[in-house]
């Protein structure tokens, strides 16, 4: 059975990959249904995950009188309201969209704020944990670019020498970004090859 799974995955991957490089009508006819099936399967997989979360985790907590069953009750009510609003109002409804954005955006934004505080606190102790030259470089780089991006050095635009130096410093992140992009490309390539040749089998569970 595993062989069949691998064969299907490899064949589908090759068809989609060839359609990515060659603009052929035949490949397009094969690729579009595969893409639709993938979207449908991903939606069903999300539904399965939601059902498992509702019935397998939180309802189980209510039945077993779990100490944290209060949070489970909130989650189940929020899920039911959102599901019913989406079914009856539709995803394009403005009320439904405000319901989503006014819940999800503040939550995720608060998480980002906590992340910012955590990063600042971690930066305070960077030299306490990494007392080497790389730690010093990171420490000075963080301070330097925070100051540069704040815009407080705008007066240096009147000084030619400092202006050139700051302009060159702004190019340093670009150089690092190019290296990151190359790494991302290589990683994506390796991942794709692993899936196509059957070395990596995420569909086996």
């Amino acid at each position: 059975m595993k062989v069949v799974n691998v064969a299907i995955a490899v064949l589908a991957g090759l068809i989609v990959l060839l359609g990515y490089f060659f603009n052929s009508s035949g490949l397009h006819e094969l690729r579009s249904p595969l893409l639709d099936w993938a979207v449908t399967l991903s939606g069903i997989a999300g539904l399965v995950a939601i059902l498992n979360l509702v019935f397998g985790v939180h309802l189980k907590r209510l039945r077993e009188n779990h100490p944290r069953k209060g949070s489970s009750v909130v989650i189940l009510i929020s899920f039911a309201v959102t599901l019913l609003a989406g079914i009856f109002l539709g995803p394009a409804d403005e009320g439904f969209q405000k319901l989503v954005t006014h819940v999800q955006v503040p939550i995720e934004s608060s998480l980002m704020a906590v992340l910012a505080i955590t990063l600042v606190f971690a930066a305070l102790k960077i030299l306490q944990r990494h007392r080497n030259w790389m730690g010093f470089v990171f420490f000075l780089s963080v301070i330097l670019f925070l100051v540069l991006n704040s815009g407080v050095l705008a007066f240096t635009s009147e000084v030619p020498f400092l202006r050139d130096i700051l302009s060159s410093l702004h190019q340093i992140p670009v150089a690092g970004a190019r290296g990151i992009l190359l790494g991302i490309a290589l990683g994506s390539l390796a991942t794709g090859i692993r899936v196509i040749i059957g070395s990596d089998r995420p569909y086996n569970g």
Partner: protein
């Protein structure tokens, strides 16, 4: 015609041949008539030999030819016998290279038998036994008759010539001393006689001089045929047996009285033999070297090589295998056993260089499944009270830095004066857009960064709305299209001309990632045929003519993930060159998008709060960025100060000196 024996390979060749048929060596030419000088030399040699052997005063050179020496002993011995003795004695002297031990060690039976009776029967010397000579004369005649040699009554010239021709090198004697008595068979079959008639003289001028001197010493006048032997070569018949006729054959058939004389002279002859061997070898070497042709000398790497070595090298070669097996004289094939070139042994294993192995290992590591993620231990110590206090102080300071500029209207900040190029290009691109062509706004961002993206994108959306450009919205993630529609609604605000229902079309979620993007680039209506409220896109008055992305005025990417910006750039740039691409990204994605702007794949981009501020300053429309930039700037400065102070304190507290103190305490 007489044959000529090659000096190198010792083979017999025709007298007319100039080169040896076997080894191609130049054959010796037939000698010409004797000159006066040679005659004088022969005479001197004759006198010398006569004086040494017979202890007789050397007669004058002119006399021996005509008048035989007078004496009692000489008178008793017949003249013809004296000549035979002298010739035989001279022949023995002409064989200096005969080894001395040949007589002692390898004496054949017939020779031993010959010597013993002679010693017993003739104790006296041959010279003093005149009756015995008479008595033995019939025996000599018999022996000569057996060998079919001419006798005394024959012509003297032919008789002497037969004797001279019967003389062969001692080496030939060994070949004839066969145990089966082949010698007698040869004699009886007349081989000896034939060879005596055709035997050539494989000697040089010096040898011939010796013979001639013997003849002169014996009082025999040198016949004409001896003086000119090569003028009329005799026909060659059975040359091989003739060459091998030995001198001992002559000795074997000598009469007893002659054998006795041999024993008496044996000691004196052998005494001279050793001395003559050296001289003979030297003369022979000189002869052989002189007869070597120039081309052969040039071929010889070393001139010091002896004749024996040359003879050994010229030994006929017999192949023991192959089609020429057993055939003498054939050139052997080259021994190719050492020249065999073995084919390269290609093993079944793959041979790779170190660099190739390194690359293979790297590729294998890439293909291997990723390691299992390391699960962090939950047994970590909780923060200390001092740590908690520091965290609390940091949180309070950051919140104050964000809130105070908002609450205090008079709080001023340092405004940048230099506008980035990417922002200026973005403004110019949007101003150049046509109001008839819709602009596709593609979003991909998380809800947590929606605030930053919203503040950054608002100046751009407001300008598009102000210009009345239709907008098509899509998103490659689930939350994106919902947040994006809310952003556009905020940008429209209360604009009476621009309507959300007329000028904006939400195409919803675009699945498939890069594949979906590629399909959208190739066929937009087929990829996204319906809006989020399930209205067909083709029926729209504005978007119904949207057959490809080239019908769009521009593509604006809203993302906090540079990966999706890259995918959009790759898809659109490959399929629809010339479509303006703009990007609105968060600050964290700006460095990764900047290379695409530097390469010209993106016409411009706005990143973060500072980018939005620049855009608002350029459009001279104060917005959310202008209102919140003071908080942003103050927060960044505060964070920088906190990190610097905290790092310095950590550096001091965690110094090795303080650590030692802590351990000691």
């Amino acid at each position: 015609m007489a044959d000529i024996r090659c000096l190198i390979c010792n083979r017999v060749n025709d007298s007319s041949a100039e080169h040896c048929w076997y080894c191609h060596t130049i054959l010796p030419k037939p000698t010409g008539p004797l000159t006066q000088k040679e005659r004088d030399k022969l005479a001197s040699l004759k006198n010398k030999i006569t004086s040494e052997n017979n202890n007789v005063p050397e007669p004058p050179v002119e006399e021996p030819k005509k008048t035989p020496p007078a004496g009692s002993t000489e008178e008793e011995v017949p003249e013809w016998l004296a000549r035979i003795r002298r010739l035989k004695q001279a022949d023995e002297l002409d064989q200096p290279y005969r080894p001395s031990d040949w007589i002692d060690e390898d004496q054949p039976d017939w020779l031993v038998k010959l010597q013993q009776p002679v010693v017993e029967e003739t104790p006296e010397t041959a010279e003093t036994s005149t009756p015995a000579g008479k008595f033995k004369k019939p025996a000599l005649d018999e022996s000569l008759q057996i060998h079919n040699l001419p006798r005394e009554s024959d012509d003297s010239e032919e008789y002497i010539a037969s004797l001279l021709n019967a003389i062969t090198p001692a080496a030939s004697v060994d070949r004839l001393r066969t145990p089966g008595g082949e010698l007698e068979e040869l004699v009886e079959n007349g081989w000896y006689n034939q060879s005596a008639q055709i035997q050539p003289l494989p000697v040089g001028s010096e040898d011939r001089d010796d013979l001639e001197s013997d003849a002169l010493s014996a009082g025999v006048e040198i016949p004409v045929y001896i003086e000119e032997p090569a003028q009329e070569p005799e026909p060659a018949v059975n040359t091989e047996p003739a060459q091998e006729l030995p001198f001992p054959l002559f000795v074997d058939n000598l009469p007893d009285w002659l054998s006795t004389e041999e024993t008496t002279k044996e000691s004196s002859i052998e005494g001279k033999l050793d001395a003559d061997i050296t001289a003979g070898e030297i003369s022979e070497q000189k002869i052989e070297k002189g007869q070597l042709p120039a081309w052969l000398q040039s071929l010889r790497p070393s001139a010091a090589r002896s004749i024996e070595e040359s003879a050994s090298e010229s030994t006929p070669v017999l192949d023991d295998r192959g089609v020429l097996a057993g055939i003498a004289g054939t050139l052997p094939g080259a021994n190719l056993s050492g020249r065999v070139i073995k084919p390269v042994d290609f093993a079944q294993e793959l041979r790779a260089t170190a660099q190739q192995r390194k690359n293979a290992d790297l590729f294998q590591s890439l293909l291997q499944a990723p390691d299992e993620p390391v699960v962090m231990s939950t047994d970590q110590k909780t923060a200390s009270p001092a740590g908690r206090f520091v965290r609390f102080i940091v949180t309070i300071l950051v919140l104050l830095a964000v809130i105070l500029p908002i609450l205090l209207p008079g709080f001023s900040v340092i405004v940048p004066v230099l506008f980035p190029t990417e922002v200026v290009n973005t403004l110019g691109t949007i101003q150049a857009l046509s109001a008839d062509k819709p602009v596709l706004v593609a979003a991909h961002f998380e809800a947590g960064l929606a605030g930053e993206i919203d503040w950054t994108a608002q100046p751009v959306l407001k300008q598009l709305v102000s210009r009345g450009i239709p907008l098509a919205l899509t998103s490659t993630n689930v939350q994106g299209f919902t947040v994006l529609q809310d952003m556009v609604a905020q940008a429209i605000g209360n604009d009476p001309v621009y309507s959300m229902d007329v000028n904006v079309m939400n195409l919803g979620y675009l699945p498939g990632g890069s594949i979906g993007m590629g399909a959208l680039v190739n066929d937009p209506l087929k990829t996204l045929p319906f809006t989020t409220d399930l209205q067909p896109v083709g029926e729209s008055a504005v978007f119904g003519t949207l057959n490809s992305l080239s019908d769009l005025g521009a593509l604006i990417i809203l993302t906090d993930n540079p990966e999706f910006a890259r995918i959009w750039v790759e898809q659109v740039d490959g399929g629809n060159a010339g479509l303006p691409i703009l990007a609105v990204v968060s600050s964290q994605a700006a460095p990764l998008v900047q290379p695409y702007f530097a390469s010209g794949q993106i016409n411009g981009y706005i990143s973060g709060m500072s980018g939005a501020l620049f855009y608002e300053m350029l459009t001279m429309r104060a917005g959310s960025a202008t209102a919140r930039f003071n908080s942003y700037q103050l927060s960044l400065l505060l964070v920088a100060v906190l990190i610097f102070a905290g790092g310095t304190v950590s550096l001091i507290l965690a110094s090795p000196h303080s650590a030692k103190k802590k351990e000691a305490g």
